[in-house]
Amino acid sequence: MKNEEMNEGKMTVIVQTIAALLFPLALIFSFYVIMHGHLTPGGGFQGGAIGASAVVLLIVAYGVKHVEEKMTEGGFSVFESLGGLIFVVVAIFGLFLATSFLANFLVNEPIFGKIPGWGQAPLNSGGILPILNIAVGMKVIGGLSAVVLILALISREGEEK
């Protein structure tokens, strides 16, 4: 009765609907964790892990083939490399504009470098830390999603043989 659907690797319609509702929720929460990494617990690694988990949720609910049509692992790899590039470029800017590699050259500057007082803090504080957070977040989202996607594809190919 459901052999075609099972071959596609989809789960039932209930799981799919809930996954469709949870995917933007997990994604926006991941962005919240990445953006507020210098204020609340979180940062690039944690938000990246949550974002990769959102992609894994799509993989398990809709099947690998369906996800791979939309986003290939090459795309994720490019995303990851972009994150690494942003990280290194910002670090080298520190070498040129300030004293050393990875120097925090934006702190005490007007736009990003507010030093917060006691308690609440604005989002645009922290110098280059938010930019590095975003870079590492992109890197981790791309990297871990690509890992799970490749492994799932390989497992599927192995079963077809």
Partner: protein, 116 residues
């Protein structure tokens, strides 16, 4: 007054959570265990979250402005629990039936032989 409400809510919540785990231990097969595990933990967690939300609201009312964040974030966790818990139970039940586990002492099984 506020503490009595919180005590009652926490009591109900922890009672249902303990009941859920006892049911998990006592019931005979996976489907009935799912009944205990899903319903009772969801219900107990709702009450625990309600206690936390009421505490945050009360603190906010007293004058600690930032404590409203406890209420909102707990509400998020509650929504996530309410969405994911029954779906997970459905997935496990379907997988258990497809992997060939029969319900114990079943008087009727309409699904038998329909799949695989």
């Amino acid at each position: 007054m506020i503490w009595e409400i919180i005590y009652i809510l926490l009591g109900i919540g922890v009672a249902f959570n303990v009941l859920a785990s006892i049911g998990l231990l006592r019931f005979p097969d996976v489907y009935t265990r799912l009944h205990a595990g899903t319903k009772c933990t969801t219900f107990g967690s709702i009450f625990i979250c309600l206690a936390a939300m009421i505490y945050g609201l009360w603190k906010w009312h007293v004058g600690d402005k930032q404590m409203i964040a406890i209420t909102i974030h707990t509400f998020f966790a509650l929504i996530a629990i309410l969405l994911t818990n029954p779906t997970g139970a459905h997935a496990i039940a379907r997988a258990a039936h497809r992997s060939g586990i029969k319900p114990v002492k079943a008087v009727v099984d309409d699904l038998e032989g329909k799949n695989v």
